[in-house]
């Protein structure tokens, strides 16, 4: 199947990335992305917040600044109270306001199942686009949010999560990647992506394939939600984690000392996860300090990039 394109496409379908990027002039390019899903949490307002943070994240992951957005809504108008929809949209709108993004329209349809998300437009200088596939040997890998939201959401469904943990994870998912993106703009970043449905390993695999490099992950350094390990041991793992494992299995090796629960976390599909940044080794410690000072307490160096045509991921 062929798709329409022209020479101004900087990032498009042949180099699939977090968002599409189109050159407008020598110093301006447009970033376009869209994201929507079914409810992640029970509270409609927080669902709106998480959906918005999730949609905006792809623009930050490209190194850009989001500016305008449009709502995408599917809602059972005949059978559900409109006040619920109002709360969802309020959550989304409040998150846009926090991100200084304007809402300029939207579209809704009647649907048995609730869905919400946004189409987002942002801007970036054409020379500063951060694609996924540009790992450089010797880089180190930095992650800005802890893993485990998929597993904890499963535990929430099983009514096994404390109120406190549920709140903490809800806020984690609703947290914008904007501050992380702003801070990383001052450093030499080779590549960047955000960690979402494919889990850390899946998104790292996307960065590795076609890069001419391999990645080493130190599982002990990966930030995780502590309770998620216990939930994983009890089998509260979303089906997506197993799919993610199957998909990437060929290119991953685990050292024997990596506990199964930690492996589960590395494949756990994230909702609105953090940024995974590939930065030059000499700047790594400074980047992490800057992120921590900027309020991104969980920022951690999780591994390294090595020169290797094999393009594999080894986890120790």
């Amino acid at each position: 199947m062929t798709f329409p394109s022209d020479e101004n496409v900087i990032i498009g379908l042949d180099r699939a990335d977090d968002a599409g990027v189109y050159r407008i002039s020598d110093d301006l390019a447009l970033i376009q992305t869209v994201d929507f899903f079914t409810p992640i949490v029970d509270d409609p307002y927080w669902f709106g917040q998480i959906a918005a943070a999730n949609a905006l994240s792809d623009v930050y992951a490209m190194g850009g600044t989001p500016k305008t957005a449009m709502n995408l809504v599917a809602f059972p108008v005949k059978t559900m109270d409109l006040s619920i929809l109002r709360q969802i949209i309020q959550g989304g709108v409040d998150k846009l306001e926090e991100a200084e993004v304007v809402l300029i329209g939207g579209h809704s349809i009647d649907d048995k199942e609730i869905k919400y998300g946004l189409s987002v437009t942002g801007f970036i200088h054409p020379e500063r686009v951060l694609a996924k596939k540009n790992l450089q040997p010797g880089d180190c890998l930095v992650l800005t949010k802890p893993l485990g939201t998929g597993i904890v959401n499963t535990a929430i469904k099983a009514a096994m999560s404390s109120e406190q943990l549920t709140q903490k994870v809800t806020r984690l998912m609703a947290m914008l990647n904007r501050d992380a993106a702003r801070i990383m703009a001052d450093f030499d970043i080779s590549a960047c992506t955000d960690v979402t449905g494919f889990g850390l390993i899946g998104h790292l695999a996307e960065m590795v394939k076609g890069s001419g490099c391999s990645a080493k992950v130190d599982s002990g350094q990966v930030p995780v939600i502590p309770e998620a390990e216990e939930f994983a041991a009890m089998g509260l793992i979303p089906a997506g984690a197993y799919k993610n494992r199957e998909f990437s299995e060929q290119m991953i090796t685990f050292a024997e000392t990596v506990p199964r629960t930690l492996q589960d976390l590395l494949f756990d599909p994230q909702t609105s996860g953090g940024l995974m940044i590939s930065v030059s080794d000499v700047q790594c410690d400074d980047l992490i300090s800057a992120l921590k000072e900027g309020g991104i307490a969980d920022a951690a160096r999780i591994g390294d990039v090595v020169d290797s045509q094999e393009e594999v991921i080894s986890v120790i």
Partner: protein, 198 residues
């Protein structure tokens, strides 16, 4: 053998159904049938966390997990009661990150040495519990992190007091052991053959 049919149920219902069955009856054997590989894996993990040995089978389009628990487990299926064989169960509780008082530098050196030497207990080392300042031995940057992880890989359960981690605001820095509560700690003390307090 208690049969549980969890086909047609979406995750995490199969695990919840299995959990409820264990709670009601404390069976020694269970046979859980699900309709997809992910649920089969989850039920297997759950049963193993409750002390069962498991076997997986596939019968046409059904995925089966058979669990067997030799020892008579206590009425509560949680916390996990893994079989420890005939070996004595020794629990070591560290209420500080230093061994002894008087000199902190010496105290840390002694504690590191102590925790590393504990492996000489062999099979009899059963639980390592950290409370109060002791929890600081389980966070990132701790000199004994690799040793603690090695103990966990060898099957020794490490329990880290959650209230203490919260108190020091280091919950998210924990890198070894499971976060636990006072009930688990007291239960471990009761089940242990010997409790050593440091």
């Amino acid at each position: 053998m208690r049969e549980i049919d969890a086909r047609g149920l979406a995750c995490p219902a199969p695990v919840l159904q299995t959990k409820a069955a264990l709670q009601e009856e404390s069976p020694n054997g269970v046979r859980v049938v699900v309709d997809n590989a992910a649920s089969q894996q989850n039920v297997q993990r759950f049963l193993e966390s409750q002390g069962f040995q498991t076997v997986l089978e596939q019968v046409e389009s059904d995925y089966v997990v058979i669990g067997n628990c030799e020892s008579m487990s206590s009425a509560r299926p949680h916390p996990a009661t893994e079989s420890h064989g005939d070996a004595k169960k020794i629990m070591v509780m560290c209420a500080s990150d230093r061994l002894g008082s008087g000199d902190d530098v010496l105290g840390l050196k002694l504690m590191v040495n102590f925790l590393r030497t504990l492996k000489e207990m062999g099979d009899e080392l059963w639980r390592l519990v950290f409370v109060n300042n002791g929890v600081k031995l389980t966070i990132e940057g701790s000199y004994v992190l690799e040793d603690l992880k090695a103990y966990e890989s060898a099957g020794i359960k490490i329990l880290v007091c959650g209230t203490c981690l919260d108190h020091f605001s280091i919950l998210e820095k924990k890198r070894a052991g499971e976060t636990t509560n006072m009930l688990d700690i007291v239960t471990a003390m009761q089940l242990a053959d010997k409790v050593i307090n440091i």
